[in-house]
């Protein structure tokens, strides 16, 4: 049952393991947070520096994609166990939407 709440007493080794895992996770989150700030800075600098729009738009879109992936994996725990189906549906949906929008845009407005 989902609401199983049996208390479990952890051994010393297990405790250590969990502690190490959590600190590693924390490190990951901090790193990706730093990367995200950095990516945002790049985006802002590019606009401020006044590059051509044709350069800025694709790069910002690319950076946004990277941000989304970082967000999903490091903050929304997509990599954790039991998220396989969620990830599968998300990526199927993104894939279908991408193909559809791509085809529509190329057919209708090319």
């Amino acid at each position: 049952m989902a609401h199983d709440t049996t208390e479990k007493i952890r051994s010393h080794a297990e405790h250590d393991f969990l502690k190490r895992k959590r600190s590693a996770e924390m490190r990951h989150q901090l790193t990706s947070f730093a990367i995200m700030i950095f990516l945002t800075l790049i985006a802002f600098t590019m606009v401020a520096a006044g590059f051509s729009t044709y350069l800025i738009v694709p790069i910002i879109l690319l950076l946004a994609g990277v941000q989304v992936v970082l967000q999903l994996y490091h903050f929304m725990h997509l990599s954790n166990k039991g998220h396989g189906m969620v990830a599968f549906f998300m990526f199927s949906g993104i894939f279908v939407a991408f193909i559809t929008v791509l085809a529509l845009v190329t057919i209708v407005w090319w």
Partner: protein, 629 residues
């Protein structure tokens, strides 16, 4: 809240069905209302065939004929085929995975009532100034030019029933992902559950484009927007794209559950494990993905250019591969089996050549240059009736016979079933086979009449005769249902004697909690494994007998859907200056909708428990069947 079966009055039964959140009762509601819409759509088809019976006929006027074909298509797809299949999914899928109900019983009921009121709303157009008349595809230029309120009925009605379908699809997805019994891994799920899963995923991804398209249509018609108005800078082709981005997955939403039903039938009545189970599963998933990459093959003649046409032609042909895999797997399932030709099995065997014929003409149309010849001719009409009637409707009829005992606890007459089958099957081929040739002779679809000098008289007469045979078949089925219900001979758990999956291990109809103890699944074809090992109970249990938590019934889904129904009338007449009450009706309808949502949110409804003692009492009596009787 007693779990004891008791004699109830008619009023109490109606109230029970209005408030039910039990997936088995909702399945019956889907089956009955889908069945009624099927009869209405069939009646429209008969009128169409009477009109086309002879050259120069004036049985229906041109305008009425347009309304008739539009409503026939719309009703059959959205209000008959899909709901009946959703009914089977509701009835069978939770039993197959060993669940006590779907994940969200309240939403299940809401989904049904939204579909129901959407369907009623759409059909009220007949009595309120004219039905939609721009074809079931409702192409924008034509639809925007339509003067009656028909198109508004179409757009609003499909929006409401579309919400219902979307809710149902999401519900099934969550149910299958989260509520499988212990041991029921993905690769142990019966094929009908698998096809339900993939079809639900398609519903999830395909209905939003339709909703967007319908919203644009509503805004264009009712609020003077110009999404599809070319002279105002809109683009009329966008509707076609949006419609078919939804429309092509939609036909897979219909055919995949049909494949699922046939897969169950082949395995049961060949008394063999499905050949190539894994391949069938992956073919199903693959068809689901391909379904989204082929929509433009409905639009080859629009002028998309050679590159787009070539890409979509190739993508379309690829779909024949997974479908072919399925056909061969079914053939090899029958091969060497100990076959019983019951009514469902006869339907399944008849399905293979019929569907293959429809598939082959489909590949012909995928060849873009040839499609320029075939487009909008009766060849197309013949093709899609071969896949939809030869695939989906045969599956529905087979499923009605197969699952009738599980849903109602009685067995439909095999003899009358055979009569239905032969009338329907011969009538079907008589009606539609000849239409291929009508198409090749140049008869365009959607014309209300033709001249005597065009050489189409005889073939049209034959086609109409076939339609009559199909109608006789359906009437015999209705007689069969009435006789069976009146006789009321109850059947046991496994009336076909060769059931393989979990639904056949429990009473027919099952008690409202389905499984007193959650079963433990030890492999594919769970019940078959237990039977072969001589397990008299039919299953191994994953848990001891204990209290079961059940949801309370609720009238709120009905009221919410009714609120949308009322609001739609306000929206429909909003543009008419002669009707000042529209805004009030719109507001009242939305108030009912949001008010009942508010009540639902604020009032805690924690459900109830069936105690262990009540369960033991029930089990002593052979399982409480609290079903339709």
């Amino acid at each position: 809240m007693s779990s004891l079966a008791q004699k109830k009055g008619v009023g109490a039964i109606i109230w029970d069905y209005l408030t039910t959140v039990d997936h088995k009762k909702i399945a019956i509601l889907y089956l009955i209302s889908g069945g009624i819409f099927f009869l209405i759509g069939g009646l429209e088809a008969m009128l169409i065939r009477i009109q086309l019976m002879k050259a120069g006929n004036d049985f229906l006027s041109a305008g009425l004929y347009n309304e008739m074909i539009t409503m026939h298509g719309t009703t059959m797809i959205f209000l008959a085929a899909m709901p009946i299949l959703l009914g089977f999914m509701n009835a069978v899928m939770p039993l197959q995975i060993g669940a006590r109900d779907v994940a969200f019983p309240f939403l299940n009921s809401l989904g049904f009532w939204l579909f129901f009121f959407g369907g009623i709303f759409l059909n009220l157009s007949w009595f309120m100034g004219g039905a939609p008349d721009a074809g079931w595809t409702n192409y924008a230029s034509l639809a925007l030019a339509s003067e009656s309120h028909g198109i508004d009925f179409y757009a609003l009605g499909l929006t409401i029933s579309g919400f219902g379908t979307l809710i149902g699809g999401i519900n099934f997805l969550v149910t299958i992902i989260n509520m499988r019994a212990p041991g029921m891994t993905y690769m142990r799920m019966p094929l009908f559950t698998w096809t339900t899963f993939v079809a639900s995923a398609l519903i999830l991804l395909a209905f939003p484009p339709l909703t967007v398209g319908l919203f644009f249509m509503i805004f264009d018609r009712m609020f003077g927007a110009n999404f599809f108005v070319v002279e105002m800078g809109g683009n009329t082709i966008i509707w076609e794209h949006l419609f078919w981005i939804f429309g092509h997955p939609e036909v897979y939403i219909l055919i995949l559950p049909a494949f699922g039903i046939f897969s169950e039938i082949f395995a049961i009545f060949s008394r063999k494990r499905l050949f190539g189970y894994t391949a069938l599963v992956f073919a199903t998933i693959l068809i689901g993905f391909y379904g989204f990459m082929v929509w433009a093959h409905h639009m080859f003649t629009v002028g998309l250019g050679p590159t787009a046409n070539a890409v979509f032609a190739l993508a379309t042909m690829i779909i024949a591969v997974p479908t072919g895999i399925k056909i061969f797997n079914w053939l090899l399932t029958i091969w060497g089996g100990s076959i019983k030709f019951t009514v469902p099995m006869v339907y399944a065997v008849a399905f293979i050549p019929s569907f293959v014929a429809g598939g082959v003409t489909g590949v012909m149309q995928a060849i873009a240059p040839l499609d320029y010849q075939l487009h909008d001719s009766y060849f197309i009409v013949a093709h899609f009736h071969y896949v939809i009637v030869g695939g989906v409707v045969l599956a529905i009829l087979a499923g009605v016979h197969l699952y009738w005992p599980k849903m109602f606890g009685t067995m439909l007459s095999e003899k009358l079933g055979m009569v239905t089958f032969w009338f329907f099957f011969i009538g079907f081929h008589l009606t539609f086979f000849i239409q291929h040739f009508l198409g090749l002779l140049g008869m365009p679809r959607r014309v209300y009449t033709f001249g005597a000098d065009q050489g189409w008289d005889l073939f049209n007469a034959i086609s109409s005769a076939g339609a009559l045979l199909m109608a006789i078949g359906v009437i015999v089925l209705l007689v069969n249902v009435v006789i069976t219900t009146v006789k009321n001979v109850r059947v046991g758990n496994d009336p076909w004697e060769d059931g393989r999956t979990l639904e056949w291990a429990i009473p027919s109809p099952p008690p409202f909690y389905n499984f007193a103890q959650t079963p433990l699944v030890r492999g594919l074809d769970t019940y078959w494994i237990e039977k072969m090992e001589g397990n008299k109970k039919g299953m191994v249990y994953a848990e001891p007998l204990g209290d079961i938590h059940m949801p309370n019934g609720s009238i709120i889904p009905f009221i919410m859907s009714f609120g949308m129904f009322v609001a739609s009338f306000g929206a429909l007449y909003f543009q008419d200056d002669s009707k000042p009450w529209t805004l009030a009706v719109l507001i009242i309808g939305l108030a009912i909708l949001f008010g009942s949502m508010l009540v639902r949110s604020l009032k805690d409804d924690l459900g109830f428990h069936i105690t262990k003692e009540e369960l033991m009492e029930d089990l002593k009596k052979g399982g409480n069947t609290d079903g339709s009787k």
